[in-house]
């Protein structure tokens, strides 16, 4: 081995060896372990090693497909993805466009203020909104009642609970969308707009022909990240509603957490995680396929 150190051909392998070892230990092994776990039934027994636990083949996956609660949680998560992420994107784009204008006084102050929700730990955000949305002493209902309207039971009714979870998600993560899109907007040279103006293009035309095409990468990245995040929404649910009322705010992450760490049904939780992974992978592929800017 030491003799080979002098061999130039071995150098690249030696240099990448630590990275390969790290990837194998911290990425590949856990992935393989979780696949194996998904194919086993996790049994609690003293001195029973993981490898001796019974194989159940694809039974965990079969159970997932027939698990009404899991399918319900999947539907709730898809709703969050469709509604909350769409609103975050549109709102984020609007704020970023407005803040991108020149001569916005106090710009650094507003940027700092804007980032505040994002800087807050997510669980703290959930608990904070639990107080804000409380039907008896919450600030939001104080405003509602100030307008002469009856208080709204945001967290105790199935009509309002999921929109409330979405609201908190939008509040917390729209600043992230603003940040990414604003950096994309700032990278567009002013000369392009000036040239377009000289050529007689209006604001809408300039947006469609210059801003949107040049913003394609940031848009794709932001939708990709937020879509993946939507499947990981957990802390807000934990702090705000604990998945209720009923199962109306139980997301897949929250459901998998309960299967894994409350019921210690680790084999089933692993299989659910793989199903979610495949769905996220498919959605990500679609986003990249349709939003990736052309080389032209």
């Amino acid at each position: 081995m030491f003799k080979n150190l002098g061999n130039r051909k071995a150098h690249p392998y030696l240099l990448i060896a630590p990275t390969i070892a790290w990837l194998a230990g911290f990425i590949v092994y856990p992935l393989i372990f979780s696949i194996v776990m998904a194919l086993k039934q996790f049994k609690l027994k003293k001195d029973l090693s993981f490898w001796d636990m019974p194989w159940v083949g694809l039974r965990n996956f079969e159970k997932a497909i027939n698990d009404e609660n899991f399918l319900g949680a999947l539907w709730v998560t898809l709703l969050v993805l469709l509604v909350a992420v769409t609103i975050e994107f549109l709102l984020g784009l609007a704020i970023a466009s407005l803040l991108n204008r020149k001569n916005v006084r106090g710009h650094p102050f507003f940027m700092t203020l804007l980032m505040t929700p994002m800087m807050m730990p997510i669980i703290a955000g959930g608990l904070l909104w639990r107080m804000l949305l409380d039907v008896r002493w919450g600030a939001v209902n104080a405003v509602v009642q100030w307008f002469g309207l009856p208080p709204i039971d945001f967290l105790g009714t199935i009509q309002w609970s999921l929109p409330s979870v979405m609201l908190v998600d939008i509040w917390q993560w729209t600043p992230f969308v603003v940040l990414i899109l604003l950096s994309g907007l700032r990278a567009i040279p002013d000369e392009l707009y000036e040239a377009a103006t000289v050529d007689g293009a209006g604001r809408v035309q300039a947006f469609l022909k210059i801003t949107w095409p040049l913003l394609a990468w940031p848009v794709m990245i932001v939708l990709l990240i937020r879509s993946m995040d939507a499947f990981k929404i957990f802390d807000v649910v934990y702090g705000l509603t604990f998945g209720g009322p009923g199962n109306s705010t139980t997301t897949v992450s929250f459901y998998i957490y309960k299967q894994g760490f409350s019921q210690f049904n680790l084999g089933y939780a692993a299989s659910l995680s793989w199903i979610v992974f495949i769905i996220v992978y498919a959605i990500s592929t679609l986003i990249i396929r349709f939003l990736r800017p052309s080389e032209d």
Partner: protein, 484 residues
């Protein structure tokens, strides 16, 4: 500035307002601190705590003998539960020569941490605090020690007769054997506002409307009438309110209404220690329909009420009646504005054909101390657990306000505890004695998850009680199949 810029500024400020608004706009639910009236004794006062001599006398002689120079490692749940043990570290070092190392784990991670320790075969811990609902699972897996031989061996040093009978079976025994040392004697009791019940005008109006006297409700049907009678939103008063957040222990609260509706005898009413299903369809439907009716007399938001919300509503007189854990908190003017207007009694029940009333209060959650089979200091750990469960320590635990509740007869009879708990002592004892424990078999967490999921869906109006029952049973069958 143009309109669009104002709009940008508005949106940014609105985002940030979420962070700062609670302090600025929300109504503070915490009652204004009330000075402690003269003569009233509350948790933390030196005169309600045991003396050093009492604590020394509570040390089991064998612990004194064997503990010198030894070290034990203990796992406690965070919060008040761990406080008494942490506060005893120096005391034990000084008086026994025993060093204790305490790991405090957040409640939501406790089970995960324990199972990680067990499955790794680690002998790191000698004593662990747990929720009794996990006992069967741990016992069947061989993770915790059967303590029968220890109770026998050290019988002369432990007064088990002093533990309230129902509670010790509920919290500490599984399939008839001791697996734990008593720690936190949680039980649900029924609270009501005595100022309303003792008001002659209210008594007369109630009698006129319902045809019987306004007295402490013995049955759930009476609770229903009284909840309806006292629901007066314009006065900020509701008839009934309790913990109903979608957590597994909300099913325990519901079980206070469900279990007495079961016609025959039962061990657990849900799943007994032998793994047999005892969930009764007729009782389930009747009780759940009644429970949903009671919720109509609760403030909005009830389905999101955890302990803080229900404690606030009860302590500040927002609800006329409530089921809640027995705790001295409701006798403390610093924590409850209605501290002197709250009475309690045996959990209401259901009238039987012979005229008797069946009461089945829930030993909701609770805590106990167990000795892992991998521990290398089992005797010492058992004896230390017994010290924490001694009379002097239970007085210390409850009267320091840690939230760890007693379960010994002698503790409830002690004047210092009576001073702090007031009228709550007798009804707590009565409920502890009749208490029905949580499901304790392997898979208990999955049974509870299925139960509360379907119950909560019915409470939210998504399905009727019969559908909820059928769905629970279907899921329970799957859980049982997987446990075999």
């Amino acid at each position: 500035m143009k309109v669009s810029r104002w709009l940008a500024v508005f949106m940014v400020v609105a985002m940030a307002a979420g962070v700062f608004a609670p302090a600025a706009l929300a109504e503070d639910p915490t009652p204004t601190p009330v000075p402690i009236p003269e003569g009233v004794k509350v948790a933390g006062m030196p005169e309600v705590l045991p003396t050093q001599e009492e604590l020394k006398a509570a040390i089991p002689p064998s612990l004194m003998e064997m503990g010198q120079g030894k070290k034990l490692r203990i796992m406690f749940q965070g919060g008040g539960d761990s406080a008494p043990a942490v506060e005893m570290k120096d005391f034990l070092k000084e008086n026994v020569g025993l060093e204790i190392e305490i790991d405090v784990i957040p409640p939501e991670s406790l089970r995960e941490k324990q199972l990680s320790v067990f499955t790794a075969g680690s002998s790191d811990y000698d004593l662990m605090e747990l929720y009794p609902t996990w006992i069967g699972e741990y016992a069947e897996a061989g993770f915790i020690e059967n303590l029968d031989p220890y109770y026998e061996k050290y019988a002369a040093e432990i007064n088990t007769e002093d533990f309230i009978a129902g509670a010790q079976v509920g919290f500490d025994k599984y399939q008839g054997s001791w697996y734990a040392v008593p720690y936190d004697g949680d039980v649900n009791i029924f609270y009501y506002r005595t100022d309303l019940w003792e008001d002659p005008a209210e008594q007369a109006a109630f009698k006129e409307k319902y045809g019987y006297d306004l007295k402490y409700p013995e049955t759930w049907l009476q609770v229903r009438d009284m909840a309806e009678f006292f629901t007066r939103p314009d006065e900020g008063l509701w008839g009934f309110g309790t913990l109903a957040l979608r957590t597994w222990w909300a099913a325990d609260y519901w079980a206070n209404v469900y279990r007495p509706h079961i016609a025959g005898d039962f061990q657990n009413g849900m799943v007994n220690d032998q793994g047999e299903f005892e969930l009764d369809r007729e009782a389930f439907i009747k009780a759940n329909d009644l429970y949903m009716e009671l919720m109509k007399f609760s403030p909005d938001g009830i389905l999101n009420w955890g302990y803080p919300e229900s404690k606030e509503a009860l302590g500040n007189g927002v609800v006329a009646m409530s089921m809640q854990w027995a705790t001295g908190v409701f006798r403390d003017p610093r924590q409850a504005s209605h501290w002197d207007k709250l009475g309690c009694g045996l959990m209401p029940g259901v009238e039987q054909a012979d005229g008797s009333i069946k009461h089945k209060p829930a030993l909701a959650v609770g805590k106990a101390l167990v000795v892992p089979t991998a521990s290398e200091n089992k005797d010492l750990a058992f004896l230390l657990g017994q010290f924490f469960a001694s009379k002097a320590m239970q007085i210390y635990e409850t009267n320091t306000g840690s939230g760890v509740d007693p379960n010994r007869i002698s503790v409830f009879e002690d004047q210092r505890v009576k001073d702090v708990w007031g009228p709550l002592t007798s009804c707590t004892m009565a409920n502890l004695d009749l208490g029905v424990p949580d499901i304790k078999v392997p898979g208990a967490a999955a049974y509870y998850e299925a139960l509360i999921g379907e119950l909560h869906s019915s409470w939210a109006g998504e399905q009727d009680s019969a559908t909820a029952y059928d769905k629970v049973m279907k899921q329970w069958e799957i859980v049982r199949e997987e446990q075999q």
